[in-house]
Point group: C2
Chain length 246, copies 2
């Protein structure tokens, strides 16, 4: 692999450049991009030029840099989550239409929940999830469902890592988490009132393919006395999606 | 930029590797990947190792190579089409629920229509579009809508390129295309019975942001006497989405 004078490969530097972009920073100046990627300006300019030539990056009318449509196309058309997303979307759409609250789909990736799809309702309750965003497994309802069905090894690593609390309701203590995970497996869904934000309740169900849990589908609804009633349509939608996945 | 002995950059070779994957070839052996990317096996192995280390690629349980979840995450979370897709999805979901046929969203990219979202109905009519798939502008209803609202320069280039016919109904002749594009601008939608496949009718409407056409939303319905009736809900959904985009 070709390397820079300090031994870093071109691929490493290209990934650092791509990683500088995020949901809140979709358009960056060359200097801001270099600063975030921790690369000299000349190196940044050279790499951006090369990556733009291939459509991995793009320049807008003010010469600011953004992720290229071609980068999205290369990642998406053979994406490992494409099938899951495409099968799930109609079920998520139905659920969203029936309950009128944000609906999301998350998968386990590198010890976190990675959200691969989300449908939002305008004016809905606060929801910290984003498409291609991540949350810790212990904090979110989708994460708890994935953790409840994960390997013993991963479960013990999460429990040993002393997970952080978002609110006073976050399950951040080992025994409470263990009890909740057993409850999720028994009950068939995770119910998390105020675990991430006091105003919101997360609810999530497992999504199975050939019997194995491959994702979690969730709702974010207001944290009130009615929140519990949304578990029924969510469980039904989860069963329907699992059936469609086979 | 670091270059191989034949002067090709690492980025160029990495893009060739990513480009070897597609909707029909999401999992490749190392040798098949090298063959498709037109790279020596040793170069392919070295690049795959490096790209896998960064999560751009992944290896499955049989050591076959696939696009990595991290690649998808880097492309998606700051994607230039993310906002459009996320705003469009609930409207597409409503439309899909009401009409019960495949619903898709396409944008103009490099003189083609690139489909950024699709909702499919099981058992629906034949539909050649795919998420992150492309179609020529003249052949698809979404492409015709985008072409009808594109610059004069692009329109003349497409007309000059002697577009290919998929069926005997494809508009592959200059004057017929010009007449149709004017009709689409006047009527507000494209109606394409049997243009791509004899059994399917594509219908598409423009999606506007600040008055400018930024995408086309379409339906694929059976090619029969009722096809025309689907234009009404589609036009309504297009207006609603354009209003939401502002």
């Amino acid at each position: 692999m070709a390397r820079s004078p300090d031994g870093e490969s071109v691929i490493t530097r290209a990934v650092r450049i791509l990683d500088a972009f995020g949901p809140e920073s979709t358009v960056l100046s060359l200097s801001e991009l270099g600063r975030r990627a921790r690369l000299p300006l000349a190196t940044t300019a050279r790499l951006v030029k090369e990556m733009t030539r291939h459509g991995l990056l793009d320049r807008d009318e003010h010469r600011q840099v953004l992720i290229g449509t071609r980068m999205w196309e290369l990642a998406e058309r053979a994406s490992p989550v494409r099938d899951l997303r495409e099968t799930a979307l109609p079920y998520m759409g139905d659920l969203h239409a029936v309950v009128g609250h944000s609906t999301q789909l998350g998968v386990l990736d590198s010890g976190e929940v990675l959200f691969v799809e989300r449908l939002t309702a305008s004016g809905s309750v606060v929801n910290v999830t984003r498409i291609a965003g991540r949350l810790p497994l212990h904090a979110s309802s989708a994460g708890l469902v994935l953790l409840a069905h994960a390997s013993d090894g991963l479960r013990e690593r999460v429990l040993a890592a002393r997970p952080a609390a978002y609110t006073r309701h976050t399950l951040a203590e080992g025994q409470a988490l263990r009890t909740e995970l057993a409850g999720i497996r028994r009950r068939g869904f995770a119910f998390c009132p105020g675990h991430i934000h006091p105003d919101a309740t997360g609810i999530a169900v497992p999504v199975r393919r050939s019997g194995r849990v491959v994702a979690a589908m969730g709702l974010v609804v207001p944290n009130d006395d009615d929140a519990w009633t949304f578990s029924r349509p969510l469980v039904l939608a989860g069963l329907a999606l699992s059936r469609a996945l086979g």
